[in-house]
Amino acid sequence: MDNRLKIQHLLWRAGFGPKHINSFQLKNSTVKETLNNIFSATQKPVKKFNVAKNLVAEYFSNESNLEYINKKAKQNRGEINSIKMQMRQASKEDLKTLNNLWVNEMINSDDQLREKMSLFWHGHFACRLPAGYYQQELLNIIRQNALGNFGDLLIAVSKSPAMLSFLNNDKNRKKSPNENFAREVMELFTMGRGHYSETDVKEAARAFTGWSVNPLLEFDVREFLHDNGEKKFLGHTGNLSGDDVLNILLQQKQTAKFITEKIYRYFVNEKINDERIKFLSEKFYNSNYNISGLMMEIFSSEWFYDQENIGVKIKSPVELIAGIRRMMPLTPRSESAQIIFQKILGQVLFFPPNVAGWPGGTNWIDSSTLMARLQVPRVWAGKEILKLIPKGDDDVDMGKEERRKVNKGDVKRAGDSEIEWDKVYAIFEKVNREDLADAISSSFLQVPLSFSKDILNKYTDSQSRQNFISSSIIQIMSTPEYQVC
């Protein structure tokens, strides 16, 4: 098999595809070298996003004594509520900014695997909450731990104010337990359905009673709401705490299996290979949930590069967008308008459909999203104006009509961008004119073009070499073939 294809396969799965500057040298490189580059980039320190402000913490800036703060918070409830309202109102803009910052990391960061893995966890620990600060902190936890230890990640996410409030654990009290959080931790975050009983859910919910958020918007166990009675959970008995429950869940081999299977579906193939899952999940479990180790095992195995695993995944909208922009360097004139593409294609960062995350695969595709996908490259290239209006989001719009109108303006501006074609032409500088079409399609596609080159020629501009390159790229990206990696 073509070496370039294998390297591109790795770059697409461990990241967001090849980047224009490196793309031509790929054929002179090796898989091993690429793999080393990917993993050495993960050693760099991770910069936290710091866009949304915790105005409540600023309000208490001089205090550190929680008891005092709690008292003051009660006394000045009105004032604090209005600060919280201010934070809520800033959320819409904060989430847009965070969205763009993160997409820019996906496009530009060398630490591709971290961003890809974070996108995976962002869907695994799905949290749909229009609260900018909470979402930012959750994303920081995810990016920090994306390649570390799954146990650390699980515990940090479970203690994040974002998840606790999204799954209503702030309403989980000794006197009236709310099972939502406990149920999803087991069903979606660790073991999956069918490996525990309803009693286990009830008992786990009791262990999580009192897990909540303090006035500084940090994790807090409110002891007076916590149930200190004896609980029976997955064969363990005692006065179990929320931490105990999470640790017991991590002791279950099923948790390692569930996570490994999901990672395999996401990074390798939606079709599961039981033997490989068994092998990988045992290694994952025995490594005490070392995520980076598991990923290295996958990407360095021979079967990962088997033909049956190449070009069989439908890119998610965010992968598609980031992938295009890695090869076609462009500066959008309106950053916020970029989010329109996510809306139209059906994946808006920070807005997963529900706690189960984006279902993925063929769920990305219907007649409207497919036609929109085929339109995106032309819209960016200024050859077409986007006419599709995304649906409103009432949780964000809060009934304010003016917010919807902004939407329409964004649609018009969505494709308004400057493309640095020179950088793209440079990729193909050394290619003969008659080999250009093949060179372009093999750089951009993970599957062979399934139609004849005559058709491509019919729709490309051959007036000059440069026009030919740019129009071929746009037409090649506007195909079903480009939707897979």
Binding site: R128, I344, T369, Q375, P480
Partner: protein, 398 residues
């Protein structure tokens, strides 16, 4: 999820022939005859944002209502009377006419257990027909498609008049088609290229094949819909609102011989936290006028008995108004059913009990899944148990 190669070739072959047919031949094909009576069609109107049901069907003799809504409550003298106790919003005069003609029925207190007050999640629950602790990635009308349309020539059994397809119309294997104007999809600037691609391709990769199948289906459906939309020209004038245009498209298709059974359209936002009276009245005026033209069109063509228009919203609103002349998210709501073929007319059940609330919100009395089961079984003649994944008692309004 996957389809057989043979089936795919048939579809694309069909697309090819229809695309190559000269215009005059196609129109000859299509003008055969209008659909005979008895071919049932469902039109779903989604009120996005949580419509305030209590100010839609107003309990005009209920003291609690006026006590909880001192400034936004609608007085008996302003509302349009349906019964002694119930009146309808003043911006829905045509709905009153329909009611008096026996072509409107209203189900009160529809909802589901453990209601969710987030717009998106609650809409998800209504569209997927899931329980509130269940997450489905397909919708009830999409599963209807899976059920009735595994070998359809044109996958146009369910259409949404919008740019983006809602979850409600996404099935496991089949998905509805969304479009605002059939011409747009048909006339897209790169469509020739896509047509060429979908004719001339050959591949072994299942995923790519799936995408090409969707592409071919979309192009052939777009052409099919566009052709059908031009058969019937209505002499009824529609309001020049977004909703008016959408209803005009729907009626032009219903009155053609298209194979569509379900149309889906949204109106909103009904999220009236602030200044509710004006906002709700505006939206209702759009609804009233569009439905009036639509009904006139259907009546003229003798098809009103065959069409059921059903409205819903993801939740109702709190009984007590807030400090901004609005209402906040609640639960329990009413649904409208409009048709010439209703078996039960007017109010189908009691008005909500305002003295028996759940933390300030209406308690639901009818699970919306009973309504869906009824519509699927009795109107669309489909297997409701299969589609809804359980058995729900059927109601008797149709």
């Amino acid at each position: 999820m996957l389809f057989k190669r043979r089936e795919f070739l048939q579809t694309s072959a069909m697309a090819t022939t229809s695309m190559l047919l000269p215009k005059f031949l196609k129109s000859l094909n299509n003008t055969g005859s209008l659909v005979p009576k008895g071919n049932k069609v469902l039109v779903v109107v989604q009120f996005s944002g949580g419509n305030d049901g209590l100010n839609t069907i107003i309990p005009v003799r209920n003291d609690i209502y006026f006590r909880e809504r001192p400034s936004i409550g609608i007085k008996k003298s302003d509302a349009l009377s349906l019964t002694d106790d119930a009146s309808i919003h003043p911006s829905l005069p045509y709905f009153k006419t329909l009611h008096d003609e026996g072509c409107l029925s209203i189900m009160n207190s529809v909802g589901y257990p453990e209601p969710d007050r987030s717009h998106f999640r609650s809409m998800d629950i209504w569209q997927s027909a899931s329980r509130s602790d269940q997450y489905l990635s397909d919708g009830w009308l999409g599963r209807f498609l899976d059920n009735v349309c595994h070998d359809c020539d044109n996958p146009t059994q369910a259409l949404e008049i919008d740019d983006i397809l809602s979850l409600a119309l996404k099935g496991k294997d089949r998905k509805g088609i969304a479009f605002k104007d059939p011409r747009n999809l048909f006339n897209g600037s790169n469509v020739r290229y896509f047509k060429d691609l979908s004719h001339d391709h050959d591949h072994s990769n299942e995923t790519v094949e799936y995408l090409y199948k969707t592409l071919a289906d979309t192009l052939s459906s777009a052409e099919y819909i566009y052709d059908k939309s031009r058969i019937y020209s209505s002499n009824v004038s529609y309001p020049s609102t977004d909703l008016g245009r959408k209803f005009k498209t729907i009626s032009s298709l219903i009155l053609s011989d298209i194979n569509t059974k379900v149309y889906y359209v949204s109106l909103g936002s009904f999220d009236t936290h602030v200044g509710q009276p004006q906002k709700q009245a505006n939206l209702f005026t759009q609804l009233n006028d569009a439905v009036k033209s639509f009904t006139a069109d259907l009546k003229n063509a003798g098809r009103f008995d065959d069409v059921l228009l059903m409205t819903f919203s993801e939740f109702g609103r709190r009984v007590k108004q807030n400090a901004s002349n609005g209402t906040d998210h609640g639960s329990g709501n009413n649904m409208f059913f409009i048709s010439g073929g209703l078996k039960k007319k007017g109010l189908l059940n009691e008005l909500p009990d305002l003295s028996d609330l759940d933390k300030g919100d209406l308690k639901y009395k009818v699970d919306f899944k009973n309504v869906y089961a009824t519509v699927l079984n009795k109107w669309l003649n489909a297997n409701d148990k299969n589609i809804l994944g359980g058995s729900f008692n059927l109601l008797d309004f149709i």
